[in-house]
Symmetry: C2
Subunit: 359 residues, 2 copies
Amino acid sequence: MNRIHNFNAGPAALPLPVLEEIRDSFLDFKGSGMSITEISHRSKGFEDVLNDAVARTRRLLKLNDQYQVLFLQGGASLQFCMVPLNFLAQGGSADYVNTGAWAGKAIKEAQIQNKPVKVAASSEDRNFCYIPRNIAFNKDAVYVHLTSNNTIKGTQWASLPDTGKVPMVIDMSSDIMSRPVDMAHIGMIYAGAQKNIGPAGTCLVIIRKDLLDLCPDHLPTMLNYRTFAEKNSMYNTPPCFGIYTISLVLKWLEETIGGLEKMDALNQAKADLLYTFMDASGFYKATADQGSRSLMNVTFRLPSEDLEKAFIAKAAENHLGGLKGHRSVGGCRASIYNATGLDAVRDLVSFMKVFQSRS
Amino acid sequence: MNRIHNFNAGPAALPLPVLEEIRDSFLDFKGSGMSITEISHRSKGFEDVLNDAVARTRRLLKLNDQYQVLFLQGGASLQFCMVPLNFLAQGGSADYVNTGAWAGKAIKEAQIQNKPVKVAASSEDRNFCYIPRNIAFNKDAVYVHLTSNNTIKGTQWASLPDTGKVPMVIDMSSDIMSRPVDMAHIGMIYAGAQKNIGPAGTCLVIIRKDLLDLCPDHLPTMLNYRTFAEKNSMYNTPPCFGIYTISLVLKWLEETIGGLEKMDALNQAKADLLYTFMDASGFYKATADQGSRSLMNVTFRLPSEDLEKAFIAKAAENHLGGLKGHRSVGGCRASIYNATGLDAVRDLVSFMKVFQSRS
């Protein structure tokens, strides 16, 4: 077996011990004589898995009783429409901050529904290379929508803005569980699992219970947050394998890494190593502004597109995979989520030095 | 390792060679140095998986160019609302046949949207123990909705009804790929994967392309069939692991079983063995009418609820799992999907004989 260093933006690297546990138990889950993919979602075995994933999420993020932890399907993309469908049904408007492609899609899905949304701030003027500051939010908005980390443009909110009494609804798909979160003004977090906590096909939703009162009765059952809240995510058959994998990743975070403070320190060390090297290189150029740089997705350019092509190809030959930038922007990107270790970043920097010296 | 005979209703048994292939390649998918859960959905490796699953579906069901094969999330439950959202947006009404809990939920999701739906036939008068016949469908309906197999009540359409020019939309979650399908009057098939073709969290949708013209522009993007049709199921990150597993199950169906005619013969043999034994036993009583009996979910009762409890417990001790009836109806149920072999049914019948003789 020849595992590579995986810098994919998502689906992305998972912790090796998690993959090994899945493999080793794949034909016989906990003595059931069945695979985790074959057991009933109504069995004690699966209920334990689900409740474990919920409990670990609560502990890792230090959630109080105001919040409920749900697992849905459809990725963040379905949340883009569910958020306004549920929270703006009884009137009112929402503020959105436009920090790139994913935020833009969230705005579009509210507009398709003819919901009154205001783009309270945008970094489009400089091609989304920074996070807006000093935003004047509407004090009467039902919610403020943010994208905490922008995978394509490589930016991230260093800290959350002050929205006063207006709850934030945050798409954390690409930095969930990468650092502690101040929940003080958060109404809801959603996150497609496939970047930091599991395989594609499961979406973590953390919702403050008072927001459930906004969900209308007449929505299709599968589009109403209350359906999932009332049935502990089990109104219909949930994505069992995804929830199982998430439970193992969260166990690794708690028991091997030691929690989100430690994960954050590791993630900062990884990003510092890479950004510091690039800033001094005179060759690799990070695309995001200082102060807005993502600890998860390090986007950068080389002096020419030909060099970028050669860099990505040569890196792949050296077991460094997934370094191509998003197809919409080009360039290079090293996604260094939780499961991509300091060793991988060190190997990447070593390779970058050699590549530069030979170019 | 101690694998059991798995009679779960869903999630349910998967073919052992499929589980073994997933296990054996789980840390290194096709020499990529990554797990199937870690590779990009935009990679050649995953595109091949997706296209293979589509091609195998087309071959197995003998689909012509009128049909498109899609993979969505949210299970059949999300389809219950997407079907009327998409197909009744421009007016018109739909006929539904009510054959039990799942059909009833499909009807409810259309009614929540205030869509004009007519229950063209129902078997509720006799607790859904039969499939209605000689139904007078509305010739001007946009579609007729059927549930081809009813997991809870153990009934199945032996053959599809004549709906004339009105396209059928069929929930085949629990008998998809169990037998050949006459596509002549079918507009759409949908099937949650977790019974016959894969793990929970992926929904197969086969749609006749002319129906895409009914889908309105103003729907949320993730709720519009055209979104998935235009992007080959890759508008957003698809449920990669589910699609991968489905591709392996379909490969097993084609290459090991030898196609749907052979699968059908096997499934008939399995069901015949079980029903014939029960009918002669004077002890086990099948709950569905002759002629309406499901080849997939054999529902039955014992002379008392105490005996049923003892039967289920004793069966589990003998490595026969999942025999409890649905929590809404009680009794017993042996789900004998594709991956539950004739050997499992033989062992079950042997056990049933012994249990009867000792009761």
